[in-house]
Structures are given as structure tokens and as C-alpha cells.
């Protein structure tokens, strides 16, 4: 082996970059997309083995601009375009991870990731196991997912159940700006492969978050870990809405409306579907005695089904009513003009709340 010049040294110091980011962000609300972009940039600075690739992620900066500016700043060895082939992208990432890199790859849309499913199910998920832990695959597969943006067919699938069902994969999905940053950094630093679901309707949502400060806290290991940790998005006492990703905002809207009617709903954001936080979920349901699982994905054989089963197995004696689900219908994702009838809405959630046997 002749170790000659490495092409991976970043020519930007972390402190300089951070100071610039801080100045830019001081009084500006930050978008969910910018938080992801900053997490990618900070990871490239922090670790020379991080490489980013996929379709259109280079010069264009991704169709959602999540990798915007990374090739210009870090060079085309750190962030680059690949041929248009999802199995190729994932398969090449497997090999790069075998050989010491931390690939972060983008599947352009949820349904475009299906050609890579064999690589993900047969290799990404199993490599550690079939080599007795000798080969771990520290890689992140980023998937923009779910609907609510008027997308045409094959652009709005909630495909998380396929991956959550596959042992060996971790499955994360953030629902707020702070988590977008922290969870992506954690996913990249994880020694296990992570399928990272980004609710595409949230890319443009804004919150007042100081990303530079968040970065400092994360790197000083002072921020709370998100893996396997559900988050109480809104505390409440009468019933628990268990949800994740794009449905968190809908659940929060429902909780707000319910509060006006004097019903206090707790909203739990699962964040990490795998590993799953039974503890936080069960503590909430035991406290409230009622629960509804809210998710965009079709309900049959879904993550929502799994959560209902887990809750009733563990909390049966604390339950005052059956655990209900508000999910998408068991149909192919509908056309843009019809998606509002398919997606869980605050009204549909409140109808479910009404069915929680309050009179008893």
C-alpha cells in the first residue's frame, strides 16, 4: 500500500466555519433543510472519513438543496454525483464503509429507493451479523419521504415499515429543526447503518434555533442523545398521541384544538423507530390511560400497528379504552388533488379522541 497524498483533508477549519455560521444565523429562523445541510457540513469537518454522494447532490445541491454548497466548500471527493442507479449508490457505499469511510448517501425520493432494497436488506442490514461484528457499516441512507407537498405518483410514499421490519437497520425520523441537526449528526456518527427518513413537507419549515450553539453542545457531548429516545413534544394528561415524522405537526395541531375543548393531549414524537423507546411510550400511556397512534403510512402491517401491539402488551391494565390508530388508508398514495382525504388530519385525530370511551 502506498499512502500518498490524501484527497480528503478539509481545507476549512471548524472554528472559522462555525463563526461564519453563527454570524449568519444570529437572529434568523432556520429551516429544517438548513439544519440538515449544516449537520452534513459539520460532519464533513469533524470526520475526514465522511463522504456524501447520490443523484444530483453535487453541483445542484440535491433536488431539495439539502447538500447545497457542500461540493463547492469541500471538493468533489467529499460530496459528489453518481450515475443514476440506487442499488449502485447503496452497494458502493457498503464497500466504502467496509474500507474505512462513513458514507452518507441520498435516495432522491422514497419510492426511488426501492431498486436498492436488495442491497439494504441483504447486505447493509446483515454485514455486521454475518461477519461476527468484524465488518460494521457506519453509513446513513437519507430518504426524503411522505406526502403533503402535492407530489406526483412515486414521490410521496411512507416506506419506513419496510426498513423498520429489517433487523440490523436503525430507523430515525426527525420532526423539528433541532432534531434534524442532532439526529443526522448522531446517525452519521453511529457505527450501525441508519435509514434516515426526512419528512419532505418539513424541509421549508422554520424555527428559531441557534445551530452553531447546537453544534458546540453536540461536539462537547452535552446535547441529549436522540437514538432510542422518544420526545415529549407537548405534555398532557388525558390521552397520548404517539406519532413521528410528518405527523407530529398534525398531532400538535389536534392537541391545540383539543385543549380549547378542555382535553389535555400529550404528544409523543417517537424520533427513533428503531431502536424503539418502549419506556417513554409506556410511561406516558400508563399516566394518561388512553392512546392513539398517528402516522401517514398505510395502517395495515405498519409501524403504527407495531406500536399499538407493544402498548397493549405492556400497558393493558392501565388502559381505559382500546388503543386506536389514525393512519393513511390502505391504498396507493393518491394524486395531489386527493391527498388531503388520505392523510391523517387534526379533525380525524379529534374524531378518534372522541371514541376513547370517556363516558366510562
Amino acid at each position: 500500500m502506498t499512502a500518498t497524498t490524501s484527497r480528503l483533508n478539509p481545507n476549512v477549519s471548524a472554528a472559522t466555519a462555525r463563526a461564519a455560521a453563527k454570524a449568519a444565523n444570529e437572529h434568523q429562523p432556520v429551516t429544517f433543510g438548513k439544519a440538515l445541510n449544516t449537520a452534513l457540513a459539520d460532519s464533513l469537518v469533524a470526520d475526514n472519513s465522511v463522504v456524501i454522494f447520490g443523484e444530483d447532490v453535487g453541483t445542484l445541491g440535491g433536488v431539495f438543496r439539502i447538500t447545497d454548497g457542500l461540493t463547492a466548500r469541500f471538493g468533489s471527493e467529499r460530496c459528489f454525483d453518481t450515475p443514476l442507479a440506487e442499488s449502485g449508490i447503496v452497494g458502493m457505499a457498503v464497500g466504502m464503509a467496509i474500507n474505512g469511510m462513513r458514507p452518507v448517501i441520498e435516495m432522491q425520493f422514497d419510492a426511488f429507493a426501492y431498486p436498492a432494497f436488495e442491497q439494504i436488506a441483504s447486505h447493509v442490514a446483515k454485514m455486521r451479523n454475518r461477519t461476527q461484528g468484524k465488518l460494521n457499516l457506519p453509513m446513513v441512507i437519507r430518504i426524503p419521504y411522505a406526502g403533503g407537498v402535492g407530489g406526483v405518483e412515486h414521490h410521496c410514499d411512507s416506506s419506513e415499515a419496510y426498513y423498520a421490519h429489517t433487523p440490523g437497520l436503525k430507523v430515525f425520523t426527525p420532526s423539528c429543526v433541532e432534531d434534524a441537526y442532532l439526529m443526522l449528526r448522531e446517525a452519521i456518527d453511529s457505527d450501525d447503518p441508519v435509514v434516515f427518513f426526512e419528512p419532505k413537507k418539513l424541509y421549508w419549515s422554520k424555527e428559531q434555533v441557534d445551530l452553531a450553539q447546537l453544534a458546540e453542545q453536540y461536539e462537547a457531548k452535552k446535547s441529549a442523545r436522540t437514538e432510542g429516545q422518544a420526545r415529549i413534544a407537548r405534555p398532557g394528561s388525558d390521552a397520548t398521541l404517539i406519532t413521528y415524522g410528518p405527523s407530529v405537526s398534525t398531532a400538535l395541531e389536534a392537541a391545540k384544538l383539543a385543549a380549547e375543548e378542555g382535553i389535555s393531549l400529550e404528544v409523543l414524537d417517537i424520533r427513533s423507530i428503531v431502536p424503539f423507546d418502549d419506556e417513554t411510550v409506556c410511561a406516558s400511556v400508563r399516566k394518561t390511560g388512553r392512546a392513539i397512534v398517528v402516522a401517514e403510512a398505510q395502517g395495515f402491517a405498519s409501524v403504527a400497528s407495531e406500536i399499538v401491539a407493544r402498548v397493549q402488551e405492556r400497558c393493558f391494565h392501565s388502559l381505559a379504552a382500546p388503543v386506536l390508530r389514525v393512519t393513511g388508508f390502505d391504498i396507493p398514495y393518491p394524486a395531489p388533488t386527493l391527498e388531503k382525504f388520505h392523510l391523517p388530519s387534526a379533525e380525524r385525530i379529534l374524531d378518534a379522541v372522541d371514541q376513547l370511551q370517556w363516558e366510562a
Binding site: G88, G95, N129
Partner: protein, 387 residues
């Protein structure tokens, strides 16, 4: 890389050989074949070589080293088939008849180079240096691949077809980004060239100009389906030109030709000339595995024809004629092969270590709470059984 840069790269290589880019990328008009089935050296004008497709003969020492590995490879194939019949191994996809390909693929690589094998490439894995019992671990029905891929620079044998070719591309890509000159040999069979990942791997390797040698053992059958139902291409090596890489065909039962071709291929890849596709014409002498019945899809007369082309007897005849096989050399080669066979017999006669408690290890870097719970349940079940 721009489209022009790709064209320039191919043009630069072809100029070194004084031929056109088309003549460089297309396989030579005839398959490269140095030794006749009877072991005599073919006249130079009948070796299939032509300008730009010339392959220097390996040295006698190199041929002897390869022949020793060939004899061990044949012995291992036959030993493993016997162990399956005796019920000591669960399954074995034998490469009997294809050993010359296996040896050349592994022996041409340097210590830091990587091999990406399939389930039929146990002899190549063994030749790469993996310990015999470690190679056969998965075939005796254990849950893991048996060896540390990083200790040998040898990937686990892949059962899903051609998926590992993309991993080979990734290993080469990572090495290139770090400025290392690692070469990777990625193996597959003729049927596997129909898979989508074959196409994606060759395309990625060429677009990123990576030192990967795609080595196809065309053994004429994908379980029962003959090559004619896999591809209408003039040859599998011709597929290379569609990706902007060079392809070559070689007699896969001619160890001398294989060593010559693979040695040059590795050198060219290491020098930064991009990926290559090598198609070795060979024959699967036995059924797909012990579970297959090849009498349902091929005539015995066809198998008989290939016995005359056997790679082991061919190489032995050449070395005998060249006076390279002294009695002591033969004795050592035979003893080494027997020693590996004995290691396998002794190892397979030990009971496999299959502790069900281990089922939950290495699913993740640390056990999730859910897996810890499930493991505790199984341990409790086992404890009650033992009590």
C-alpha cells in the same frame, strides 16, 4: 470526469499499445489460450494474442506455485463433496473443473488487494490465505461467514448474485480517495451477468475510473439455464465496451493463460488505467450443489467432453514435459494438498459450535433493549430445558 476525459483515458491506454481505442476495448478476435488440452504450448500465432492483447508467459517458479495451489484446490473440492455425502457438511457448491480460474483470481493479487468472491469461489478464498476451516464455516450450517474479511482482505462469499461487485467498487473507491493503490478482483458467473447489479457495478467502476477487475467464470450454466438463455451478446467480454472498459476472453481451464492475463490486468489496474472485464471459459463439471440433479438439463456426453480439457491434468502435462516436476516437488505438492484435506476432515468431524444464545450478537453494535429482552427470554427457555 468529463465525457472527453473518459475518451482521453481510453485513448491514452490504447496509444501505449499502438492500437485504436476500439481495438483496445474489444476482446481479441479469438479467446486467449496458451496451452493445448494435452499440455503442449500452442504456437505463438495460435495463442489468440494480437497487438495490444499480448500476455507474457509466467515464470516457471510462478507456474509451479500456481500448480501447487491448483492441486490443493482440486483436493479441497473433492474432499468437501465427500464430506457432504457423509453428512458432515450441509451443502457445497463445488468448483470442480474451474480451479484454474479460482487460483489465478486470487494468486495475482498482492497482500493489500481485495477479493470479492461468490459462494462457488471457496478455492479462491483459500488461495487468498483464509484458513481452510474458516472458509467452509458457512457451508457447515453456522450462522456467520467464518473469517475476518479485514484480516485477509477477502469479503464474505456472496450468495445474492453480483451484489458484491458493487462492494468491490466501493472498496476500490475508498482506497483511491485515500491515495492507496489497492486493486480489487470481483468474481461472478455467467448467469449473474444478467443481474442489474452487474451493470451498475461495471458502470460505476468505469465512471469513477477504479482499479476493479471483474472476473466472470463462464461455466456455461446458471443452475440449469444455459448461457444462450442469459445473453445474446457475442461474448460476455464484449459487454465491456458498453461501459468504456476493456474486455478479454481466456480459456478458463488453461492456468498458464489465466495467470498471464490476470497478472497483466492487475498491473494495468494498479497503474490507474481503470477497470477491466475478463471472461474465463470453463465448465461446471458437477451439479450446481449436492441438492441439484444435472441429468435433468444436460447430456453426460457433454460433461465427458470437458474431462479431456481438465485444468489439472493439462498443467501437470506441461510441467512434466518442461522437466519442472521433480519427484520431490510432486511429493511436497501432494503432501500439502493432503494436509489441507485432513484439516477439513478433522475439523468437520468436530461438532459445530452453534450456541443459540449467540443469535442476538452483532445484529447492532450494542444490543437494543428489545433484543436484550428477547435474548433473556430464550436464555430462560434454555435454562428451563436444562433444569
Amino acid at each position: 470526469m468529463s465525457t472527453e476525459a473518459h475518451a482521453d483515458r481510453i485513448s491514452d491506454v490504447s496509444k501505449k499499445f499502438g492500437i485504436t481505442p476500439e481495438d483496445y476495448m474489444l476482446p481479441a478476435r479469438h479467446m486467449i489460450n496458451l496451452l493445448n488440452p494435452d499440455g503442449t504450448l500452442r504456437p505463438e500465432d495460435q495463442q489468440g494474442t494480437e497487438p495490444g492483447h499480448e500476455y507474457p508467459l509466467p515464470s516457471p517458479a510462478r507456474l509451479l506455485e500456481a500448480y501447487a495451489a491448483l492441486v490443493t484446490g482440486r483436493r479441497v473440492n473433492d474432499q468437501n463433496s465427500a464430506l457432504v455425502r457423509q453428512g458432515r457438511m450441509a451443502v457445497y457448491p463445488s468448483s470442480h473443473g474451474q480451479e484454474a480460474c479460482q487460483i489465478a483470481a486470487a494468486l495475482c493479487l498482492g497482500e493489500n488487494d481485495w477479493l470479492f468472491p461468490t459462494y462457488r469461489d471457496t478455492v479462491a478464498v483459500l488461495t487468498k490465505g483464509v484458513a481452510p476451516m474458516e472458509v467452509m464455516t458457512s457451508f457447515r450450517g453456522e450462522w456467520h461467514c467464518g473469517y475476518d474479511p479485514k484480516a485477509y482482505n477477502c469479503a464474505p462469499m456472496s450468495t445474492p448474485l453480483t451484489t458484491q461487485l458493487l462492494h468491490a467498487v466501493g472498496v476500490a473507491h475508498a482506497a483511491k480517495l485515500r491515495g492507496e493503490d489497492t486493486v480489487v478482483v470481483a468474481m461472478c458467473g455467467d448467469g449473474a451477468t444478467s443481474e442489474g447489479d452487474f451493470h451498475e457495478a461495471l458502470n460505476f467502476a468505469a465512471v469513477f475510473n477504479l482499479p476493479v477487475i471483474f472476473f466472470v467464470q463462464n461455466n456455461k450454466y446458471a443452475i440449469s439455464v444455459p448461457l444462450s438463455q442469459q445473453s445474446a451478446a457475442p461474448s460476455l467480454a464484449h459487454k465491456a465496451v458498453g461501459y468504456g472498459m476493456a474486455g478479454e476472453r481466456v480459456d478458463g481451464n488453461d492456468l498458464m493463460a489465466l495467470m498471464a492475463i490476470m497478472t497483466r490486468a492487475v498491473r494495468m489496474a494498479r497503474e490507474g488505467n481503470g477497470p477491466l472485464l475478463i471472461e474465463a471459459h470453463t465448465y461446471r463439471m458437477q451439479a450446481h450443489t449436492n441438492a441439484d440433479d444435472d441429468k435433468r438439463y444436460r447430456e453426460d456426453s457433454e460433461v465427458q467432453e470437458w474431462i479431456a480439457k481438465d485444468p489439472v491434468t493439462r498443467m501437470k502435462a506441461y510441467l512434466d514435459d518442461a522437466g519442472l516436476l521433480t519427484d520431490s516437488t510432486v511429493a511436497k505438492i501432494t503432501a500439502d494438498a493432503e494436509s489441507v484435506a485432513k484439516t477439513l476432515r478433522d475439523g468437520m468431524n468436530q461438532e459445530a459450535n452453534t450456541d443459540p444464545r449467540e443469535l442476538f450478537e452483532h445484529v447492532y453494535s450494542a444490543k437494543t433493549p428489545q433484543l436484550a429482552e428477547q435474548q433473556a427470554m430464550l436464555v430462560d427457555e434454555l435454562d428451563r430445558e436444562e433444569a
